[in-house]
Amino acid sequence: MAKHHVQTTVNGDPIEFLCDTSETLLDVLRNQLNMTGTKEGCSTGDCGACSVTVDGRLVCACLMLGVEANGKKVGTIEGLARGDTLHPLQQKFLEHAALQCGVCTPGFLVAAKSLLETNPDPTETEVRYYLAGNLCRCTGYDKIVRAVMDAAKDMRGSKAA
C-alpha cells in the first residue's frame, strides 16, 4: 500500500510528510521530522511523555496515527521557546529544579501550557489533576507543581501589565 501523503502544520510551520498507516504521530515527529523533543515513554498513553497539542487539544502523540494529523495544527515542545527566550514555564522549571533526568519534562511543559491557556489561575489541586497523565519518576511532583503555579502567577502578572 502506498504511503499516506499528510499536510499539516507543526508549531505554525506548514509541513508535509509521507507515512504508513501504522506510524503514530510520535513516530513521525521523532523519526521523520527529527523533532526529538517529544519523548517516547510507554507508547500506550499512560505516561504523557509524548504530550502534544492537536488543534489546541492536549493529546498523547503515541495514541494518534500520523495520517490523522492531515489538515490539523500540531503543537510540540519545540514551539515553546521563542529563539533563545525560554517560555515562562521552561524558566520556572529551571528555577524550581523541577526536573532531574528530563525525559518527562517536555510532556509536562506542553501539558502545563495547555492547562494555563484554559485556566490561567489554577489551584494546586487543579494542577495536580490536570497533570495526572504525566508521570515523573524523579521529582516526586512537588517541584513541578510549584513551578507551574509560579509560572501561572508570572504569566497573569505580565498579562495585566
Binding site: M1, H4, D20, T21, S22, T24, S43, T44, G45, D46, G48, S51, V54, R57, L58, V59, C60, C62, L63, M64, L65, V67, E68, A111, S114, L115, Y129, Y130, L131, A132, G133, N134
Partner: protein
C-alpha cells in the same frame, strides 16, 4: 494495514462490510492503537470515523439529546447544556484516563471496546440511552445495556457501526450520577462502577429509577432499582437498593479486587450514587469529583 477516513456513515458501513478480515473502527484510538501496538489486534483496515459530521456532534433540544459516537470526553465536558441535562453521563466519560486521553477518547469507543469496566457505559444505561446503529440493512436503535453481550463481544452484525447515543430530555425533578471505586484518586480502571438515574414527583416521591453496575460481571448490567419507586429515597429505600446492587453482582476475582469486595462495594456505591442523583433531582447542583 489500510486506512480510510470516509465522510459519510453509509460509506463507512460499506467499507466495513466489504472487508473480508476484521476491520476496526478508529474513533479516539485510545484503546485501538494500544491493542495494535501490543499485538492484540492486527486489523487489515482501519476506518477513521472522525470526518463523519453527525458522529462528531452534540445536540440538546426539545426532542432530546444526541451524542455522536466520536465526540471526545473533553468536548462533552465543555458542552454546558449536556452537562446540565445529564451530569452523571458527562462525569462518567470524564473519569476515563488523563487529560490527554480525554482529548481523544469517545463514548462510542468506550462502549465498542467491549470492556465490562467501561466507565461511561453504566451512566448511559442508567440514563436510558439508546445506541443508534447503522449498517448495510439500515438503522436501528438498541438500548445501551443490550449492545455489549460479553467481554469484547457486541450485538453488532458485520458492517454495523454505533453512530451515537440518543438520550431523553432531563425529566422534571430528575437527576443522575455515576461513581466508581478505584484504589487511587485518578487514572485507574473501575473495581466497581455505578450509575443511577431517578425521577421524583412534585411531592418528592420517586416515580422512576434506573441503576447500572460496571466491572461486576462480563458486561455492564442494568440492575433492578424498583426499591426506590414510591419512596422519598430515604435510608430504608437506599438500604434496599444497596442490597439489590450486591445481589446482582457476579464478579470475578482479579488483581483489582476480590469477588467479596466487589459485591460489598457495589452496595456502598449504589447508596452513594443514588444520594447524589437524589440531590440533583432536588435541584442541588455540584459535581462529584
Amino acid at each position: 494495514m489500510r486506512y480510510e477516513a470516509p465522510e459519510t456513515i453509509e460509506k463507512a458501513c460499506q467499507l466495513l462490510a466489504a472487508e473480508a478480515g476484521q476491520a476496526r473502527i478508529l474513533a479516539g484510538g485510545t484503546d485501538l492503537l494500544v491493542q495494535i501496538k501490543t499485538d492484540v489486534l492486527d486489523p487489515p483496515l482501519i476506518i477513521d470515523i472522525k470526518r463523519i459530521t453527525e458522529m462528531r456532534k452534540i445536540t440538546v433540544d426539545a426532542s432530546g439529546c444526541w451524542i455522536g459516537a466520536a465526540v471526545t470526553g473533553a468536548e462533552l465536558k465543555e458542552h454546558a447544556p449536556l452537562r446540565a441535562a445529564w451530569p452523571g453521563v458527562v462525569e462518567a466519560a470524564n473519569l476515563i484516563g488523563s487529560t490527554q486521553v480525554q482529548g481523544r477518547a469517545t463514548m462510542g469507543g468506550n462502549l465498542c471496546n467491549g470492556s465490562p469496566a467501561a466507565d461511561s457505559v453504566p451512566a448511559l444505561i442508567a440514563a436510558g440511552a439508546k445506541a443508534l446503529i447503522v449498517g448495510p440493512s439500515g438503522r436501528r436503535e438498541l438500548p445501551v445495556e443490550d449492545v455489549m453481550i460479553g467481554v469484547r463481544k457486541l450485538a453488532l452484525t458485520k458492517g454495523e457501526i454505533v453512530t451515537g447515543f440518543v438520550l431523553p430530555l432531563r425529566p422534571k425533578h430528575g437527576g443522575d450520577a455515576y461513581l466508581r471505586f478505584i484504589p487511587r484518586t485518578e487514572m485507574d480502571i473501575a473495581v466497581v462502577g455505578c450509575g443511577v438515574s431517578l425521577v421524583l414527583d412534585a411531592a418528592g416521591v420517586c416515580t422512576a429509577a434506573r441503576m447500572s453496575l460496571g466491572a461486576v460481571a462480563e458486561r455492564p448490567l442494568l440492575v433492578d432499582a424498583s426499591a426506590l419507586i414510591g419512596t422519598k429515597v430515604d435510608a430504608a429505600a437506599l438500604d434496599k437498593l444497596a442490597a439489590a446492587a450486591s445481589v446482582a453482582c457476579r464478579p470475578i476475582d482479579d488483581k483489582r479486587g476480590t469477588k467479596e469486595f466487589r459485591v460489598k462495594v457495589a452496595g456502598v456505591l449504589a447508596r452513594r450514587t443514588a444520594q447524589i442523583a437524589l440531590d440533583r433531582a432536588h435541584g442541588k447542583t455540584g459535581t462529584t469529583h
